[in-house]
Protein backbone atom coordinates (compact mmCIF):
# COMPACT_ATOMS: atom_id res chain seq x y z
CA UNK A 1 0.00 0.00 0.00
CA UNK A 2 1.45 3.36 -1.02
CA UNK A 3 1.29 6.21 1.44
CA UNK A 4 2.56 9.79 1.40
CA UNK A 5 4.18 10.44 4.76
CA UNK A 6 7.30 11.74 6.53
CA UNK A 7 10.52 9.80 7.05
CA UNK A 8 9.87 9.65 10.78
CA UNK A 9 6.50 8.03 10.14
CA UNK A 10 8.17 5.59 7.74
CA UNK A 11 10.51 4.57 10.58
CA UNK A 12 7.60 4.23 13.02
CA UNK A 13 5.76 2.10 10.49
CA UNK A 14 8.78 -0.19 10.17
CA UNK A 15 8.96 -0.53 13.94
CA UNK A 16 5.31 -1.48 14.15
CA UNK A 17 5.58 -3.97 11.30
CA UNK A 18 8.60 -5.54 13.02
CA UNK A 19 6.35 -6.24 16.02
CA UNK A 20 8.72 -4.54 18.43
CA UNK A 21 7.75 -5.36 22.02
CA UNK A 22 9.54 -2.69 24.07
CA UNK A 23 10.17 0.90 23.00
CA UNK A 24 12.06 3.38 25.17
CA UNK A 25 12.73 6.93 24.08
CA UNK A 26 13.55 10.41 25.24
CA UNK A 27 12.56 13.40 23.12
CA UNK A 28 15.12 15.20 20.98
CA UNK A 29 14.66 17.16 17.79
CA UNK A 30 14.42 15.95 15.01
CA UNK A 31 13.65 12.45 16.32
CA UNK A 32 10.50 13.51 18.22
CA UNK A 33 7.82 12.93 15.55
CA UNK A 34 9.04 9.32 15.25
CA UNK A 35 8.65 8.49 18.93
CA UNK A 36 5.47 10.58 19.23
CA UNK A 37 3.98 8.45 16.47
CA UNK A 38 5.03 5.25 18.24
CA UNK A 39 3.52 6.40 21.55
CA UNK A 40 0.33 7.24 19.64
CA UNK A 41 0.21 3.72 18.14
CA UNK A 42 0.74 2.17 21.57
CA UNK A 43 -1.68 4.49 23.39
CA UNK A 44 -4.42 3.95 20.82
CA UNK A 45 -4.09 0.20 21.17
CA UNK A 46 -3.20 -0.31 17.51
CA UNK A 47 0.28 -1.51 18.45
CA UNK A 48 0.80 -4.08 21.23
CA UNK A 49 4.09 -2.84 22.68
CA UNK A 50 5.41 -1.43 25.94
CA UNK A 51 6.35 2.24 25.61
CA UNK A 52 8.69 3.42 28.37
CA UNK A 53 8.93 7.22 28.48
CA UNK A 54 12.32 7.46 30.17
CA UNK A 55 14.03 10.48 31.72
CA UNK A 56 17.15 10.40 29.51
CA UNK A 57 18.74 8.76 26.50
CA UNK A 58 21.15 6.93 28.78
CA UNK A 59 18.13 5.33 30.40
CA UNK A 60 16.43 4.75 27.03
CA UNK A 61 19.23 2.47 25.99
CA UNK A 62 19.34 0.95 29.49
CA UNK A 63 15.68 -0.03 29.15
CA UNK A 64 16.46 -1.59 25.77
CA UNK A 65 19.46 -3.44 27.23
CA UNK A 66 17.30 -4.83 30.04
CA UNK A 67 14.47 -5.76 27.71
CA UNK A 68 16.63 -7.29 24.98
CA UNK A 69 18.44 -9.38 27.61
CA UNK A 70 15.01 -10.65 28.64
CA UNK A 71 14.12 -11.68 25.08
CA UNK A 72 11.98 -8.75 24.04
CA UNK A 73 12.47 -7.09 20.64
CA UNK A 74 13.38 -3.50 21.45
CA UNK A 75 13.63 -0.13 19.76
CA UNK A 76 14.87 3.32 20.57
CA UNK A 77 15.66 6.41 18.55
CA UNK A 78 17.65 9.55 19.13
CA UNK A 79 19.72 12.32 17.57
CA UNK A 80 22.92 14.27 18.18
CA UNK A 81 23.72 14.85 21.88
CA UNK A 82 21.14 12.23 22.79
CA UNK A 83 23.21 9.63 20.98
CA UNK A 84 26.35 10.85 22.68
CA UNK A 85 24.66 10.69 26.08
CA UNK A 86 24.18 6.99 25.30
CA UNK A 87 27.85 6.50 24.48
CA UNK A 88 28.80 4.05 27.24
CA UNK A 89 25.55 2.18 26.68
CA UNK A 90 26.35 1.84 22.96
CA UNK A 91 29.54 -0.02 23.80
CA UNK A 92 27.70 -2.03 26.46
CA UNK A 93 24.99 -3.15 24.03
CA UNK A 94 27.46 -4.35 21.43
CA UNK A 95 29.76 -5.96 23.99
CA UNK A 96 26.78 -7.85 25.42
CA UNK A 97 25.92 -8.90 21.83
CA UNK A 98 22.35 -7.70 22.24
CA UNK A 99 20.15 -7.57 19.17
CA UNK A 100 18.47 -4.17 18.90
CA UNK A 101 17.63 -1.50 16.36
CA UNK A 102 18.00 2.23 16.95
CA UNK A 103 17.13 5.00 14.53
CA UNK A 104 19.59 7.86 14.59
CA UNK A 105 17.91 10.88 13.04
CA UNK A 106 21.14 12.62 12.15
CA UNK A 107 21.73 16.04 13.65
CA UNK A 108 24.74 18.24 14.37
CA UNK A 109 26.37 17.94 17.77
CA UNK A 110 26.84 20.84 20.20
CA UNK A 111 28.59 23.03 21.20
CA UNK A 112 27.45 25.38 19.91
CA UNK A 113 23.81 24.35 19.96
CA UNK A 114 22.54 23.42 16.57
CA UNK A 115 19.45 21.42 15.73
CA UNK A 116 20.10 21.03 12.00
CA UNK A 117 21.43 18.09 10.07
CA UNK A 118 24.88 16.64 9.62
CA UNK A 119 26.41 13.21 10.32
CA UNK A 120 28.82 14.00 13.14
CA UNK A 121 26.64 12.28 15.75
CA UNK A 122 26.51 8.76 14.35
CA UNK A 123 29.86 8.90 12.55
CA UNK A 124 31.59 9.79 15.81
CA UNK A 125 30.11 6.58 17.30
CA UNK A 126 31.33 4.31 14.52
CA UNK A 127 33.75 2.42 16.82
CA UNK A 128 31.16 1.32 19.38
CA UNK A 129 30.60 -2.09 17.81
CA UNK A 130 27.22 -1.19 16.31
CA UNK A 131 26.34 -1.89 12.72
CA UNK A 132 25.57 1.38 10.91
CA UNK A 133 23.29 1.61 7.90
CA UNK A 134 22.42 4.93 6.25
CA UNK A 135 19.09 5.30 4.44
CA UNK A 136 18.66 7.82 1.67
CA UNK A 137 14.90 7.93 1.22
CA UNK A 138 11.70 7.03 3.08
CA UNK A 139 11.30 3.63 1.46
CA UNK A 140 14.82 2.74 2.54
CA UNK A 141 14.12 3.92 6.09
CA UNK A 142 11.10 1.64 6.41
CA UNK A 143 12.65 -1.38 4.69
CA UNK A 144 15.98 -0.99 6.50
CA UNK A 145 14.33 -0.95 9.94
CA UNK A 146 12.69 -4.30 9.19
CA UNK A 147 15.80 -5.84 7.61
CA UNK A 148 17.92 -4.48 10.45
CA UNK A 149 15.99 -6.57 12.99
CA UNK A 150 16.68 -9.74 10.97
CA UNK A 151 20.33 -8.84 10.69
CA UNK A 152 20.70 -7.80 14.32
CA UNK A 153 19.08 -10.97 15.63
CA UNK A 154 21.11 -13.23 13.32
CA UNK A 155 24.51 -11.74 14.16
CA UNK A 156 23.67 -10.62 17.72
CA UNK A 157 24.99 -7.15 17.08
CA UNK A 158 22.90 -3.98 17.48
CA UNK A 159 22.11 -1.89 14.41
CA UNK A 160 21.81 1.87 13.94
CA UNK A 161 19.56 2.90 11.10
CA UNK A 162 20.69 6.44 10.35
CA UNK A 163 18.79 9.00 8.30
CA UNK A 164 19.08 12.73 7.82
CA UNK A 165 17.22 15.04 10.15
CA UNK A 166 14.72 17.27 8.26
CA UNK A 167 15.96 16.23 4.78
CA UNK A 168 14.31 12.86 5.43
CA UNK A 169 12.74 12.98 8.89
CA UNK A 170 10.39 15.89 8.20
CA UNK A 171 9.87 15.77 4.45
CA UNK A 172 7.09 13.84 2.75
CA UNK A 173 7.57 11.20 0.09
CA UNK A 174 5.45 8.39 -1.26
CA UNK A 175 6.52 4.92 -0.19
CA UNK A 176 5.12 1.42 -0.08
CA UNK A 177 4.10 -0.17 3.21
CA UNK A 178 4.41 -3.95 3.06
CA UNK A 179 1.71 -6.27 4.42
CA UNK A 180 2.07 -7.45 8.00
CA UNK A 181 1.74 -11.04 6.77
CA UNK A 182 4.71 -10.58 4.45
CA UNK A 183 6.82 -8.96 7.17
CA UNK A 184 5.93 -11.78 9.58
CA UNK A 185 7.06 -14.30 6.98
CA UNK A 186 10.37 -12.45 6.70
CA UNK A 187 10.99 -11.71 10.40
CA UNK A 188 10.51 -14.53 12.94
CA UNK A 189 9.99 -13.77 16.66
CA UNK A 190 13.04 -12.85 18.70
CA UNK A 191 14.55 -14.93 21.47
CA UNK A 192 17.77 -14.03 23.26
CA UNK A 193 19.93 -17.08 23.71
CA UNK A 194 20.91 -16.30 27.31
CA UNK A 195 17.50 -15.09 28.33
CA UNK A 196 17.22 -14.09 31.97
CA UNK A 197 14.86 -15.81 34.36
CA UNK A 198 14.53 -18.74 36.71
CA UNK A 199 14.77 -21.52 34.10
CA UNK A 200 18.43 -21.25 33.30
CA UNK A 201 19.94 -18.76 35.74
CA UNK A 202 22.73 -16.83 34.08
CA UNK A 203 24.78 -13.83 35.07
CA UNK A 204 25.27 -11.57 32.08
CA UNK A 205 28.14 -9.13 31.55
CA UNK A 206 30.12 -10.28 34.57
CA UNK A 207 33.63 -9.00 35.17
CA UNK A 208 35.90 -10.65 32.60
CA UNK A 209 39.64 -11.04 32.98
CA UNK A 210 42.22 -10.08 30.35
CA UNK A 211 42.95 -13.79 29.90
CA UNK A 212 40.79 -16.89 29.99
CA UNK A 213 39.96 -19.13 32.97
CA UNK A 214 38.19 -22.46 33.49
CA UNK A 215 34.42 -22.57 34.02
CA UNK A 216 32.52 -24.59 36.64
CA UNK A 217 32.99 -27.74 34.53
CA UNK A 218 36.71 -27.12 34.14
CA UNK A 219 36.35 -26.10 30.52
CA UNK A 220 38.39 -23.14 29.40
CA UNK A 221 36.43 -19.94 28.85
CA UNK A 222 37.97 -17.12 26.85
CA UNK A 223 39.02 -13.74 28.21
CA UNK A 224 37.99 -10.19 27.34
CA UNK A 225 40.19 -10.01 24.26
CA UNK A 226 38.64 -13.11 22.68
CA UNK A 227 35.20 -11.58 23.22
CA UNK A 228 36.31 -8.46 21.37
CA UNK A 229 37.99 -10.44 18.61
CA UNK A 230 34.82 -12.47 18.21
CA UNK A 231 32.70 -9.32 17.91
CA UNK A 232 35.03 -8.01 15.24
CA UNK A 233 35.15 -11.21 13.21
CA UNK A 234 31.42 -11.78 13.37
CA UNK A 235 30.65 -8.18 12.53
CA UNK A 236 32.68 -8.61 9.35
CA UNK A 237 30.50 -11.59 8.47
CA UNK A 238 27.49 -9.30 8.75
CA UNK A 239 28.27 -7.99 5.23
CA UNK A 240 27.49 -11.33 3.60
CA UNK A 241 24.67 -12.10 6.01
CA UNK A 242 23.02 -8.75 5.28
CA UNK A 243 23.34 -9.40 1.57
CA UNK A 244 21.57 -12.74 1.99
CA UNK A 245 18.90 -11.18 4.21
CA UNK A 246 18.33 -8.43 1.64
CA UNK A 247 17.82 -11.14 -0.97
CA UNK A 248 15.22 -12.87 1.18
CA UNK A 249 13.50 -9.54 1.77
CA UNK A 250 13.40 -8.97 -1.98
CA UNK A 251 11.88 -12.41 -2.51
CA UNK A 252 9.12 -11.87 0.03
CA UNK A 253 8.50 -8.12 -0.16
CA UNK A 254 9.65 -7.54 -3.72
CA UNK A 255 12.20 -4.79 -3.13
CA UNK A 256 15.92 -4.60 -2.45
CA UNK A 257 19.12 -5.57 -4.18
CA UNK A 258 21.51 -2.86 -2.96
CA UNK A 259 22.20 -3.70 0.67
CA UNK A 260 25.78 -2.39 0.74
CA UNK A 261 25.59 0.46 -1.74
CA UNK A 262 23.50 1.60 -4.64
CA UNK A 263 25.43 2.22 -7.86
CA UNK A 264 24.23 4.87 -10.25
CA UNK A 265 25.79 5.14 -13.74
CA UNK A 266 28.88 3.47 -12.31
CA UNK A 267 29.60 0.74 -14.87
CA UNK A 268 31.69 2.81 -17.30
CA UNK A 269 32.41 5.71 -14.97
CA UNK A 270 35.95 7.07 -14.82
CA UNK A 271 35.17 9.11 -11.74
CA UNK A 272 32.87 8.01 -8.94
CA UNK A 273 31.29 10.14 -6.25
CA UNK A 274 30.68 8.49 -2.87
CA UNK A 275 28.16 9.76 -0.34
CA UNK A 276 25.98 8.64 2.56
CA UNK A 277 22.31 9.39 3.13
CA UNK A 278 20.07 11.91 1.42
CA UNK A 279 22.97 13.73 -0.28
CA UNK A 280 23.36 10.70 -2.50
CA UNK A 281 19.88 11.16 -3.95
CA UNK A 282 20.73 14.73 -4.86
CA UNK A 283 24.01 13.66 -6.47
CA UNK A 284 22.13 11.20 -8.72
CA UNK A 285 20.74 14.13 -10.72
CA UNK A 286 24.12 15.87 -10.69
CA UNK A 287 25.74 12.80 -12.22
CA UNK A 288 23.19 12.76 -15.02
CA UNK A 289 23.97 16.41 -15.75
CA UNK A 290 27.72 15.73 -15.76
CA UNK A 291 27.13 12.88 -18.19
CA UNK A 292 25.28 15.33 -20.40
CA UNK A 293 28.42 17.45 -20.29
CA UNK A 294 30.47 14.49 -21.48
CA UNK A 295 32.11 13.62 -18.18
CA UNK A 296 32.09 9.90 -17.34
CA UNK A 297 30.94 10.21 -13.74
CA UNK A 298 29.02 7.74 -11.56
CA UNK A 299 27.71 7.62 -8.02
CA UNK A 300 28.15 5.07 -5.31
CA UNK A 301 25.57 5.69 -2.57
CA UNK A 302 27.01 3.89 0.43
CA UNK A 303 24.43 2.37 2.82
CA UNK A 304 26.47 0.02 5.00
CA UNK A 305 29.16 1.97 6.83
CA UNK A 306 29.94 -0.47 9.67
CA UNK A 307 31.01 -3.17 9.04
CA UNK A 308 32.97 -1.28 6.37
CA UNK A 309 32.66 -3.06 3.02
CA UNK A 310 36.36 -2.67 2.15
CA UNK A 311 36.54 -5.51 -0.39
CA UNK A 312 33.39 -4.38 -2.15
CA UNK A 313 34.65 -0.81 -2.39
CA UNK A 314 38.12 -1.85 -3.52
CA UNK A 315 36.59 -3.98 -6.27
CA UNK A 316 34.31 -1.17 -7.36
CA UNK A 317 36.71 1.74 -7.17
CA UNK A 318 40.33 0.60 -7.59
CA UNK A 319 40.44 1.03 -11.35
CA UNK A 320 38.73 4.41 -11.61
CA UNK A 321 40.53 7.64 -12.47
CA UNK A 322 39.33 9.32 -9.31
CA UNK A 323 36.97 9.05 -6.36
CA UNK A 324 35.23 12.03 -4.77
CA UNK A 325 33.87 11.55 -1.22
CA UNK A 326 31.23 13.97 0.08
CA UNK A 327 30.79 14.02 3.84
CA UNK A 328 28.81 15.75 6.55
CA UNK A 329 31.23 14.78 9.32
CA UNK A 330 34.95 14.62 9.89
CA UNK A 331 37.65 13.47 12.22
CA UNK A 332 39.02 16.82 13.34
CA UNK A 333 42.67 17.25 12.52
CA UNK A 334 42.55 14.54 9.89
CA UNK A 335 39.89 14.31 7.17
CA UNK A 336 36.40 13.07 6.49
CA UNK A 337 36.01 9.72 8.20
CA UNK A 338 34.43 7.89 5.27
CA UNK A 339 37.24 9.20 3.07
CA UNK A 340 39.90 7.94 5.49
CA UNK A 341 38.23 4.54 5.64
CA UNK A 342 37.94 4.40 1.87
CA UNK A 343 41.58 5.36 1.35
CA UNK A 344 42.57 2.54 3.70
CA UNK A 345 40.39 0.10 1.75
CA UNK A 346 42.05 1.13 -1.53
CA UNK A 347 45.60 1.13 -0.21
CA UNK A 348 46.30 -2.60 -0.85
CA UNK A 349 45.09 -2.30 -4.47
CA UNK A 350 47.70 -2.42 -7.24
CA UNK A 351 46.20 0.63 -8.92
CA UNK A 352 44.80 3.27 -6.66
CA UNK A 353 42.79 6.26 -7.79
CA UNK A 354 43.26 9.61 -6.09
CA UNK A 355 40.59 10.16 -3.43
CA UNK A 356 39.29 13.69 -2.99
CA UNK A 357 37.29 14.68 0.00
CA UNK A 358 34.71 17.42 0.50
CA UNK A 359 33.15 18.43 3.78
CA UNK A 360 29.76 20.10 3.54
CA UNK A 361 26.46 20.72 5.27
CA UNK A 362 27.81 20.88 8.82
CA UNK A 363 25.14 22.09 11.22
CA UNK A 364 22.67 22.28 8.35
CA UNK A 365 24.75 24.63 6.16
CA UNK A 366 22.90 24.71 2.87
CA UNK A 367 24.23 23.06 -0.25
CA UNK A 368 22.81 22.73 -3.71
CA UNK A 369 23.14 20.44 -6.68
CA UNK A 370 25.41 23.04 -8.25
CA UNK A 371 27.86 22.57 -5.37
CA UNK A 372 28.24 18.88 -6.14
CA UNK A 373 28.44 19.68 -9.84
CA UNK A 374 31.24 22.21 -9.35
CA UNK A 375 33.12 20.04 -6.89
CA UNK A 376 33.11 16.94 -9.08
CA UNK A 377 33.98 18.98 -12.16
CA UNK A 378 36.84 20.63 -10.32
CA UNK A 379 38.32 17.24 -9.38
CA UNK A 380 37.91 15.85 -12.89
CA UNK A 381 39.46 18.87 -14.54
CA UNK A 382 42.32 19.44 -12.11
CA UNK A 383 43.14 15.76 -11.87
CA UNK A 384 45.81 15.07 -9.33
CA UNK A 385 46.79 18.72 -9.04
CA UNK A 386 47.15 19.66 -5.41
CA UNK A 387 44.31 21.31 -3.60
CA UNK A 388 43.10 21.35 -0.04
CA UNK A 389 42.00 17.91 1.00
CA UNK A 390 39.45 17.94 2.44
CA UNK A 391 37.91 20.79 0.53
CA UNK A 392 35.08 22.66 2.22
CA UNK A 393 31.86 23.43 0.39
CA UNK A 394 29.84 26.45 1.39
CA UNK A 395 32.23 28.09 3.85
CA UNK A 396 31.52 31.81 4.22
CA UNK A 397 28.15 31.46 2.57
Amino acid sequence: MFVFESGNVAAATGVRLARVQVIAAYPITPQTPLTEKLSEYVDSGSFDAEYVAVESEHSALAVCIGASSTSARTFTATSANGLLYMAEQLHWTAGARLPMVMCVVNRAVGAPFNIWNDHQDSISQRDTGWIQIYAKDHQEILDTVIKAYRLSEEVCIPVMVCYDGYYLSHTYMPYDVPDQVAVDAFLPPYEYRHTLGPNNPTSLNTVTLPGGRPDIHGEFAPGYMELRHNLHMEMKQAIDIYTRIDGEFAEIIGRGGNPIAEKHLCDDAEYVAVALGSMANQIKDVVVRLRDDGLKVGLLALSLYRPFPSEFLAAELADRKGVIVFEKALSFGHSGTVCADLQAALYPCASRPPVWNYILGLGGRSYQSADFYDAIRDCVERGSAKFDNPGWIGLGR
Binding site: G95, E153, E154, S203, N205, V207, N230
Partner: protein, 102 residues
Protein backbone atom coordinates in the same frame (compact mmCIF):
# COMPACT_ATOMS: atom_id res chain seq x y z
CA UNK B 1 18.30 -16.57 16.48
CA UNK B 2 22.01 -16.35 15.64
CA UNK B 3 23.25 -17.66 12.33
CA UNK B 4 24.73 -21.12 12.84
CA UNK B 5 28.41 -20.47 12.19
CA UNK B 6 28.57 -17.57 14.65
CA UNK B 7 29.88 -18.23 18.16
CA UNK B 8 28.54 -15.01 19.70
CA UNK B 9 30.86 -14.87 22.69
CA UNK B 10 29.57 -13.05 25.75
CA UNK B 11 30.51 -13.08 29.40
CA UNK B 12 27.52 -15.18 30.46
CA UNK B 13 28.41 -16.88 33.73
CA UNK B 14 26.95 -19.78 35.64
CA UNK B 15 26.78 -20.34 39.38
CA UNK B 16 29.28 -22.43 41.26
CA UNK B 17 31.17 -22.43 44.56
CA UNK B 18 34.67 -21.15 45.03
CA UNK B 19 34.89 -18.49 42.37
CA UNK B 20 37.53 -16.84 44.55
CA UNK B 21 39.19 -20.19 45.21
CA UNK B 22 39.30 -21.87 48.62
CA UNK B 23 38.67 -18.78 50.67
CA UNK B 24 39.50 -20.77 53.81
CA UNK B 25 43.10 -19.86 52.99
CA UNK B 26 42.27 -16.20 53.82
CA UNK B 27 41.70 -17.22 57.42
CA UNK B 28 43.99 -16.04 60.21
CA UNK B 29 41.75 -17.15 63.06
CA UNK B 30 39.69 -20.33 63.07
CA UNK B 31 36.27 -20.61 64.74
CA UNK B 32 36.09 -23.56 67.13
CA UNK B 33 32.71 -24.50 68.60
CA UNK B 34 32.39 -25.81 72.14
CA UNK B 35 29.30 -27.98 71.84
CA UNK B 36 28.93 -28.16 75.59
CA UNK B 37 28.03 -24.47 75.52
CA UNK B 38 26.22 -24.32 72.14
CA UNK B 39 22.43 -24.07 72.73
CA UNK B 40 21.09 -26.49 70.06
CA UNK B 41 23.96 -28.93 70.63
CA UNK B 42 23.42 -28.87 74.39
CA UNK B 43 19.62 -29.21 74.34
CA UNK B 44 19.35 -31.39 71.24
CA UNK B 45 16.59 -29.03 69.99
CA UNK B 46 16.64 -26.43 67.23
CA UNK B 47 17.53 -23.13 68.86
CA UNK B 48 19.57 -19.96 68.41
CA UNK B 49 21.49 -20.65 65.15
CA UNK B 50 22.90 -17.10 65.24
CA UNK B 51 26.21 -18.44 63.90
CA UNK B 52 24.32 -19.74 60.86
CA UNK B 53 22.21 -16.61 60.52
CA UNK B 54 24.96 -14.00 60.63
CA UNK B 55 27.64 -15.90 58.69
CA UNK B 56 28.35 -13.72 55.63
CA UNK B 57 29.66 -16.69 53.70
CA UNK B 58 27.05 -19.39 54.38
CA UNK B 59 29.69 -21.76 55.73
CA UNK B 60 27.87 -22.67 58.96
CA UNK B 61 25.28 -25.44 58.88
CA UNK B 62 21.86 -25.05 60.50
CA UNK B 63 22.16 -28.30 62.40
CA UNK B 64 21.94 -29.31 66.05
CA UNK B 65 25.71 -29.38 66.09
CA UNK B 66 26.51 -26.51 63.75
CA UNK B 67 29.39 -27.42 61.42
CA UNK B 68 31.74 -24.91 59.84
CA UNK B 69 32.97 -25.49 56.31
CA UNK B 70 36.64 -24.64 56.76
CA UNK B 71 37.31 -24.91 53.05
CA UNK B 72 35.56 -21.58 52.56
CA UNK B 73 35.31 -19.98 56.06
CA UNK B 74 37.16 -16.66 55.82
CA UNK B 75 37.55 -16.45 59.59
CA UNK B 76 35.76 -13.15 60.17
CA UNK B 77 34.70 -14.13 63.68
CA UNK B 78 31.18 -12.71 63.46
CA UNK B 79 29.85 -16.12 64.58
CA UNK B 80 31.99 -15.96 67.70
CA UNK B 81 30.99 -12.36 68.43
CA UNK B 82 27.27 -13.02 67.95
CA UNK B 83 27.07 -16.39 69.77
CA UNK B 84 24.93 -15.68 72.87
CA UNK B 85 26.56 -18.30 75.16
CA UNK B 86 30.01 -17.51 73.72
CA UNK B 87 30.48 -21.10 72.56
CA UNK B 88 32.76 -20.15 69.67
CA UNK B 89 36.37 -19.15 70.14
CA UNK B 90 38.63 -17.83 67.43
CA UNK B 91 41.91 -19.73 67.54
CA UNK B 92 45.06 -18.86 65.64
CA UNK B 93 45.44 -20.96 62.51
CA UNK B 94 49.08 -21.64 63.34
CA UNK B 95 47.87 -23.76 66.27
CA UNK B 96 46.49 -26.36 63.83
CA UNK B 97 48.60 -28.99 62.13
CA UNK B 98 46.85 -28.61 58.78
CA UNK B 99 45.92 -32.25 58.22
CA UNK B 100 42.16 -31.75 58.45
CA UNK B 101 41.92 -28.32 56.94
CA UNK B 102 43.23 -25.81 54.53
Amino acid sequence: MPTENLRVLTSASYAGPGDAGRTGSWRVLRPVIDYTKCAPAKTGKPACFFCWLYCPDSVVSKTLQPQINLEYCKGCGICAEECPPKAITMVEESKFSGADDR
